[in-house]
């Protein structure tokens, strides 16, 4: 709980620090801030409490989600290379401050106990993302992405708000726990039917944020247009936070309305899997491929929402963590390679610019390949266990066809993930040794190692979750 206060203060102080300190220092200080806030988050462990007039709830699950989010933010900051080399004209402090604020929003989304808090958290995160998406001001694609994201985001926010209003109208409460009690104690027949519209619209609003089909259309365009470092931010933090919120609502308070939302959720997850995986096959750009990959991973996660097993929470946490670690590495290597290639080829983010990476940069190639393997769900990587837990949870709920589809689609996934590995190792190309800053390198190896350790010994974190 103290973490959100601390992070807000850190964000403000970051802006001040920007006056006096060089970018390197600010980057390090931001990392420090995140470590402190993580420590503060952990200090609430095993204290299941409600804060601030019962609007903010800390549970071990919410703490785990917050930790994953902050860990992702930590890595994004570590990979940020302090935003450019130009000392005179760039102002990294603002970026870092916005990132810290958006982490506050994300934490709110995983620990809310009041609809307004959910909404405000979502908006903090979204507004921050609109800004960061458009932060590459001289790039038309970035501008376009920002305006698209903003338009569609506000549109769905409207749906979300409408949904919240309808649920409020039906239950006369904004408090999650109250709504939950009312929904479980009242017979569905005696509830007004606009309640169900409200529930569905809230779900739709959050599904938009996790980019589930058919609300995914913004994802590839926005992910591609945004600066890669912020794409990394979006595909990990926004996704994890929105998914946590969705999961807590759907399997928590809306759990008693299972029959209302379960079919749409099935179909949406299946559609998401098909659209994400199949579209990714044809992509030439690694960044766009990763965007579709993040859509498809949303599909796997949505699959679990309906499973309602005891282990589901930990499976989702595990999946989020493994997905975060792998995605962060993939984007980090993409940053390095596209930066190197930007002066040399026309489209630096395509698979073709990765060709021959392994020759002079074996470390980068290895990290990239492991992250691809993990995303594809190959054994001995964290991604495998993530998928395994999710599939087994879903299967034990007797949800057969969506799981079969998911397994088929993960086979399709192998195709496009391996395209990256093939480009790196088997294709000939001229890439000289790429200079990697020490901090960047350390973060890269930490994530890769994490992926492997989780892959070999999943119960290391599974027992905590």
């Amino acid at each position: 709980m103290t973490a959100i206060i601390a992070l807000s203060l850190f964000g403000i102080s970051n802006l001040f620090l920007g006056f006096w300190f060089p970018r390197k220092t600010i980057q390090l200080v931001t990392l420090l801030f995140l470590v402190v806030s993580m420590a503060l988050t952990v200090s609430d462990w095993n204290h299941e409490l409600l804060w601030f007039g019962n609007m903010f709830r800390t549970t071990n699950t919410s703490i785990n989600f917050s930790l994953i989010i902050q860990l992702a933010a930590f890595f994004v900051v570590a990979f940020s290379k302090a935003f450019g080399q130009d000392d005179e004209h760039t102002h990294p402090a603002e970026y870092y401050a916005i990132m810290l604020f958006s982490v506050v929003g994300a934490i709110l989304m995983v620990s809310f106990d009041h609809m307004i808090v959910l909404f405000v958290g979502l908006e903090i995160l979204s507004v921050a993302m609109y800004v960061l998406t458009g932060s590459d001001k001289r790039n038309l694609r970035s501008n376009e992405a920002a305006i698209k994201y903003f338009l569609m985001g506000s549109f769905t926010t409207g749906f979300l708000l409408f949904g919240i209003t309808l649920v409020y109208g039906a239950t006369r409460s904004f408090y999650i726990s109250n709504i939950g009690t009312i929904l479980t104690t009242t017979a569905p027949e005696s509830m007004p039917s606009f309640l169900f519209i409200g529930v569905l619209l809230i779900i739709v609003g959050l599904l938009f944020k996790v980019s589930a089909a058919p609300f995914h259309f913004w994802t590839p365009d926005v992910y591609e247009g945004a600066p890669t470092i912020f794409t990394m931010f979006m595909s990990t933090i926004v996704k994890t936070a929105s998914f946590a919120a969705l999961f807590q609502l759907v399997s928590g308070i809306f759990g008693s309305l299972y029959t209302v939302w379960v079919l749409p959720v099935y179909f949406i997850s299946m559609l998401t899997l098909v659209v994400g995986n199949i579209s990714a096959v044809y992509q030439q750009s690694v960044k766009r491929m990763l965007a579709f990959s993040s859509i498809s991973h949303a599909g796997y996660l949505i699959l679990t929402v309906s499973s309602k097993q005891i282990s589901t929470t930990s499976s989702i946490l595990y999946y989020s963590l493994s997905y975060t670690l792998a995605t962060v590495v993939a984007f980090a290597v993409l940053i390095l390679v596209s930066e190197y290639q930007s002066a040399r080829v026309e489209k630096p983010e395509n698979f073709s610019s990765f060709e021959g990476l392994a020759k002079n940069n074996p470390g980068l190639a290895l990290c990239f390949s492991i992250s691809m393997l993990s995303l594809a769900g190959i054994p001995l990587t964290a991604g495998f266990w993530g998928k395994f837990f999710i599939f087994s949870d879903t299967f034990s709920r007797n949800i057969i066809y969506p799981v079969i589809l998911a397994i088929l689609m993960s086979a399709v996934g192998i195709y496009y993930y391996f395209k990256g590995i093939i480009a790196v190792y088997l294709k000939a190309g001229e890439i000289e040794k790429i200079e990697v800053p020490t901090l960047f390198k350390m973060a890269l190896w930490a994530c890769t190692l994490g992926t492997i350790i989780l892959g070999i010994y999943p119960s290391l974190v599974k027992s905590v979750f």
Binding site: G11, G53, E88, S135
Partner: protein
């Protein structure tokens, strides 16, 4: 006149003016319709016993923000920037889908008898500044403070995006 008749009249007026915002060709007209829409909404607030909100809505939205909008639009050379209008088919498809959604929503809601408002709890002072302050700084302290962060982010973001950037590209 029944209070519900006023409500129906106001709602119709609101919808009509909102429609005009997006249908009028001239952007200045659009903004003016928007201002009118805000006034209508403020009137709704009055019906809902939220007097303070009414005042704030008129001052902030209809007054400050819309005037800013007007200035900005007037500064553009609109003659050159008329967006190409969509084909009539697209318009038709859009309206059909939106209409369908509307029909569905109405169809679902009208099947229900909506619970009547709790008349006994009525308090004419609910929407006044004092009560609002009590709630905002009491029960709703956390969202209230969080909204400040939201605005702060928006502000920083606006500065960040609006600032002219010299030197090399950063990304």
């Amino acid at each position: 006149m029944e209070i519900s008749n006023i409500w129906y009249f106001l709602s119709a007026l609101t919808l009509l003016s909102a429609l005009m915002v997006i249908m009028s060709k001239n952007p200045i007209h659009s903004v003016l319709y928007l201002v009118f829409t805000f006034f209508c909404i403020s009137a709704h607030y009055v019906l809902l016993n939220a007097q303070f909100l009414m005042a704030v809505n008129i001052i902030v939205y209809a007054g400050a923000i819309m005037v800013l909008f007007l200035f900005v639009i007037m500064m553009f050379d609109l003659k050159k920037n008329i967006p190409e209008s969509k084909s009539s088919l697209t318009k038709l498809a859009g309206s059909v889908v939106a209409g369908t959604l509307l029909v569905i929503l109405i169809a679902i809601v009208r099947k229900n008898n909506i619970p009547a408002p709790l008349g006994d709890k009525f308090n004419s002072q609910t929407g006044m500044v004092e009560n609002l302050g009590q709630v905002l700084y009491g029960e709703f302290l956390l969202p209230f403070e969080l909204v400040s962060i939201l605005f702060f982010v928006a502000m920083v973001g606006a500065v960040l995006l609006g600032k002219r950037e010299a030197g090399e590209r950063n990304f």
